[in-house]
Symmetry: C2
Amino acid sequence: MKIAIDAMGGDNAPKAVVEGCIDAANEYEIEIYLVGIKNEIERYLDGVTTKKGKIHILHAEEIITNEDAPVQGIKQKKDSSMVVGLKMVKDEQCHAFLSAGNTGAFLAGSLLKVGRIKGIDRPALAPLLPTVKGGCMLIDAGANMDCKPKNLIQFAIMGSIYMEKVEGISSPRVGLLNVGAEETKGNELTKQSFELLKKSNLNFIGNIEARDIYSGICDVCVCDGFAGNVVLKNTEGLASTIMTLLKEELMKTTISKFGALLLKNSFRSFKKRFDYKEYGGAPFLGINGIMIKAHGSSDGRAIKNAIRQAKLLYDNNCIERIITDLKDTGVNDIE
Amino acid sequence: MKIAIDAMGGDNAPKAVVEGCIDAANEYEIEIYLVGIKNEIERYLDGVTTKKGKIHILHAEEIITNEDAPVQGIKQKKDSSMVVGLKMVKDEQCHAFLSAGNTGAFLAGSLLKVGRIKGIDRPALAPLLPTVKGGCMLIDAGANMDCKPKNLIQFAIMGSIYMEKVEGISSPRVGLLNVGAEETKGNELTKQSFELLKKSNLNFIGNIEARDIYSGICDVCVCDGFAGNVVLKNTEGLASTIMTLLKEELMKTTISKFGALLLKNSFRSFKKRFDYKEYGGAPFLGINGIMIKAHGSSDGRAIKNAIRQAKLLYDNNCIERIITDLKDTGVNDIE
């Protein structure tokens, strides 16, 4: 498998990206094209040998930063690591593209440069949320604002395939994000989507509420990109606020500081259970190529896990499977 | 001020409700009508004298439970504590109604029995979320699913009045819940609402993301009831999951148990900072009477604080102020 990786994207680039690539190439038989400013990449790669995979450098002069407007960035910075990487997939020289850079540019670039799978109206960004029982795919988490029921069904199909093939869950439980469990609850979109999901051959478990996501009630949580983005960011914000406030309390007195010291391992073990880095990145499903968006703050481990994700998507022919399932379910006959 | 209180609503009713009423009547010059099954209320009230306020019992034979369908419950259980309490406001014998019971029935009953303020198209349920800097009003948190921009402007006006008059914040900062800070972000609803909010005379600070709510970026967070409900339930679910997992870690070893013991006070102080009970209940704003929905798990303190809320809404003529502000802003000339 060949994968193009944006060496310049993310808060810790290129160091963390190169480190993740080295780890991955030691473990997997893959060919990595690290795209970006050559001598900056070489700083971390020089003299390194890898056990199983190969790493090539593909020079690209420009960088799309978080300050760049997405579409403009893609259109104007033609020699950026993002655009050059995407072009590798478009030209079928690579099977996958991975970036920890500007999310908007990543989404716009995937659509503009690589394009959709035939039959998918709107590709969806689909991160995994940590739950008590493992990961729950949130699809869509922000790529599509005003959605139609048909879009949500396509999200559900793609999410199910991902959770089965990449996470190894047989017959993944699909839940529809809603304001209550009853069938009649929700807005027009969820009411109509409920009917369609019920008729589908997915393992649809019905409406779920945002409070139940973390208990692991479902494997795929389907919603429009507005609601999904609210869940994702609310989760990030609340978790970080709770940790900040807790730290403040623990540093208040000598006794509490001593107590916190005794609990160092417990806190570390706790933190690990809520660590997105274990899951790698968020696939952008529905693009005619494997697209993985890693978190901006990814370290080497997160990048390595994102490469692993891309490899599983490739090894399990997930894109082909999406195309087949779309035909089988007849979702595209729905208006 | 006269307030009707559903003595039978909530997980700890009627005990917690009666206790909260006694505390409130010791502190405020109010007249409380405790509505519910007389002898059950008397069990906790017998022989009690209150310092400043008065408590009356108003017998009602039936109870609307959480299992009752909202509208059906209101229509069929005419002699329930909920319906009899609401009727006290409708008949202008009380200024306010408070319940910790079935939320759906509370919302439906408020609309059916008491009705909207003239000029408010859709009343909104508006709880306060805890933030690092105090409470942030989330409006609407689930009463209205598919909203129009006009509804969101009305929510913003009502929320601002509440935060100014009840929480004492001058010129409350209004944020529009969205997927990004930029003006062009969001779905059709938020894009159109942004334009209207920008033109209003509210202290509109622009789009806010769900991650920023807890840092106290705004005093009023405006959104449709679907997104608001997602935020509210996501917050509840995540906070409780984090606490459960943390407790599990702390109970794992002898050392961690000892550390946890030393941190008992820290955890208590931390918990208090995230305690909704401090805020009382969620006002249902836009109804032609003061309506407070207390949390189902309310204890006496939460009930007392909810009564305090109702009193502040009354003392500051908030309903009249909503009517005036609606006229001034001309929001109702918008289609």
